[in-house]
Amino acid sequence: MKRRNILAKLVLVAVGLFYVLPMISMARFAFQRVPVALLGWNNLFDRWTIRPLFTMMGNPIFQEAAFLSVRLAVLSAMLTLIILVPTVVYVHVSMMRARALVEVISVLPFVVPAIALVVGISGAFRELAPWFIRSDYSLVPFYVIIALPYTFRSIDNGLSSIDVKTLVDASRSLGASWTRTMWSVIVPNIRVSVVTASFLTMTVVLGEFTIASLLLKETLPLILAQSQGQDPQGSFAVGLVLLIMTASLLGLANRFSRRRNITQPVAML
C-alpha cells in the first residue's frame, strides 16, 4: 500500500515536470539574454529582461495583427451568442425533441479538421463569393463553427440548471415581449454560461492558425510563426503571453461552470 502511494507520487511529479519545464524553458529563452550554450550555475540569474516583449509589442505589424485577432475574438463571441442563445433557449422551452439534433450538429465540427474545412471553404466560396473570402472578417463564422462544440455545451449546461420554462411563462404572462424576456430574464440567469461561452470562443480565435494561414489573414498566431526567424526572443515572449492568456481563459471558464471540464465536450459526451 505504502509503496503504491510512492509510485503514484512519482508519476504525478514526473508528469508535473513534463507540463512545467517547457513553459520555464520558453520563459527563460524569451526573457534572459544569455545563450543556452553559455548558461551555467554562475550566470543563471544574469541579464533577465522583459524588453523583448516590449520591442515586439512596439512593432506595428504585431500591433495590427493583435488588433485584428482581438476584433475577431470579440466578433466571434458576439455572433456565437446571437446564434446559439435564442436557439438553445427555444429548444429548452418548447422543443426538447430538437435538443438531440442541435447537440449532434454542435459536435460535427470535430470530424472536419480545420485543414479539411479550409479546403472546403476555398472550394466553396472562392468562386461563389470571392469578396467574402477576401475580407478579414470572413474568419468570424468559421471560428464560431470551430468553437461550437464547446459553446453549445456551455449554454446548454446553463439552461439545464434553471427552470427556463417557468421563467419564460412567468415573464410572458406578465406581458413582457420575447426580446424583453430574453434580455432581462433569461440572459441574467445564465450569465455565467454566456461569459464562459465567450471565453471559450476567444481562446479558439486567439490560437487558431490553420484557417487564418491558408486564407492569408494576418492574425496573431500567423505573425508569431512568421516573426520567429527575425525576432525569436520577441515572438517567444508573445507566445508565452498568449499561452498564459489562453490558459487563464480556459481555467476561468472551467471554474465558472458548475459541471467540471466544460472545455472537454467530446470527452464528456
Partner: protein, 300 residues
C-alpha cells in the same frame, strides 16, 4: 399555461392530422437559423470537399484513388503512425496519471490542481506550444542542455524536435491530459466493493487488476485511444511550426495543394486528401462514441 406549451402537452400516441403536421413543422422553424448557419459554413464546405474529390478533371486516375497511392499513401501512413503512437503513449501515461490521482484522492487540493491543469493543457496547442518545446528540446533547448550535462546527448542520439519522435513528445503535452480526463471518471467508478469481493474470493492484487479492473476499463481505454488518435490526426499548426512546413504529415501535403498553383493532372487531389481525412476522423469518432456508451454501462 402559455401558448408555447400546446405541442409538448400532446401525448405521443395521438394521431397526426395534416394540420398538426404543419404546426409541428412550424415548431422547428426557430431552429432553422442555427441549422442554416451550420449548413452554409460547415456542411456546404464539407460537401464541396467530397463532391470535388470524386470528380476527375484532368487526372489519369480518380483523385480518391490517387490520394492513397504512392507518396500520398506514405503520407497517410506517416500521419496515422504518428497519431497511433501518440495515442498509445497518451493512453498509457494518461491512465497512469488518472490512477495516481485517484490513489492520492484524499488530497483534494492535488486532485483539483491536476484535473484543472489537465482540462487546460488538453486544449493547448498551435504555435505557442511548438515554441515552448523548441525552447525546451530544440537544438539549443534548455532541457537538451541539462540532459547533455547529465550525460544524455539527445542530439547525438539523433533526436530532433522536428522529426517523428520530436512531434510525438510535443503532442503528448495535450494527449496525456486529455486521456487523464477520459479515464478519471472510469477509474473513480471502480467500486471498492468489487475489490473486496475479489479479495474475499482469494484474488491477489494482480489478479484483481487483470481479471476485474482491466476488463471493466477496457472499453474506456479503447475509446480513449480512438479519441486521442483523432485528436492527433487533426492537429496541424504545432507540427507545421516545429518542422517549418517540411513534414510528411497529410495536412502539410494538403497545404501544398491549397497554396501553390494546381499541378496538371492533380487538380482535385487536395480535395481527395481532405476527404480521406474527414472519413478517418468520422470512423474514429464514431467508434469512440459507441465504446464510450458501452463504458458508461458500469457507472451508475
Amino acid at each position: 399555461m402559455s401558448i408555447t406549451n400546446t405541442h409538448s402537452s400532446r401525448g405521443p400516441s395521438s394521431r397526426r392530422s395534416p394540420r398538426e403536421f404543419f404546426s409541428s413543422l412550424r415548431g422547428w422553424l426557430p431552429v432553422a437559423p442555427f441549422v442554416g448557419f451550420v449548413t452554409v459554413f460547415l456542411l456546404m464546405p464539407a460537401a464541396v470537399v467530397f463532391q470535388k474529390a470524386f470528380v476527375r478533371v484532368d487526372e489519369p486516375t480518380a483523385p480518391m484513388i490517387e490520394a492513397i497511392t504512392g507518396q500520398y499513401r506514405k503520407s497517410f501512413i506517416f500521419s496515422m503512425q504518428l497519431s497511433a503512437i501518440t495515442a498509445v503513449l497518451g493512453v498509457v501515461f494518461g491512465t497512469m496519471v488518472a490512477a495516481s490521482i485517484v490513489r492520492l484522492g484524499h488530497r483534494r487540493g492535488l486532485r483539483n490542481a491536476m484535473t484543472g491543469y489537465s482540462a487546460v493543457a488538453a486544449n493547448l496547442g498551435g504555435i505557442p506550444l511548438a515554441f515552448a518545446f523548441l525552447a525546451a528540446l530544440g537544438m539549443q533547448g534548455l532541457l537538451t542542455k541539462i540532459l547533455k550535462t547529465s550525460g544524455i546527448d539527445l542530439v547525438g542520439m539523433g533526436f530532433r524536435i522536428s522529426n517523428f519522435w520530436g512531434i510525438v513528445v510535443v503532442y503528448l503535452y495535450f494527449q496525456i491530459p486529455l486521456m487523464t480526463l477520459v479515464m478519471l471518471p472510469a477509474i473513480d467508478g471502480l467500486k471498492v466493493t468489487w475489490r473486496e469481493a475479489a479479495a474475499n474470493l482469494g484474488a491477489g492484487d494482480r489478479q484483481y487488476w487483470r481479471l476485474v479492473a482491466l476488463p471493466l476499463l477496457l472499453p474506456s481505454l479503447i475509446a480513449g485511444f480512438l479519441l486521442l488518435f483523432a485528436n492527433a490526426f487533426a492537429a496541424y499548426a504545432t507540427a507545421y511550426a516545429l518542422s517549418s512546413g517540411s513534414s510528411k504529415l497529410v495536412p502539410v501535403q494538403i497545404r501544398f495543394f491549397l497554396q501553390g498553383d494546381t499541378i496538371t493532372g492533380k487538380t482535385n487531389l487536395g480535395y481527395a486528401l481532405a476527404a480521406w481525412m474527414v472519413i478517418i476522423m468520422t470512423v474514429s469518432m464514431t467508434g469512440f462514441l459507441l465504446l464510450r456508451r458501452r463504458a458508461e454501462r458500469w457507472r451508475r
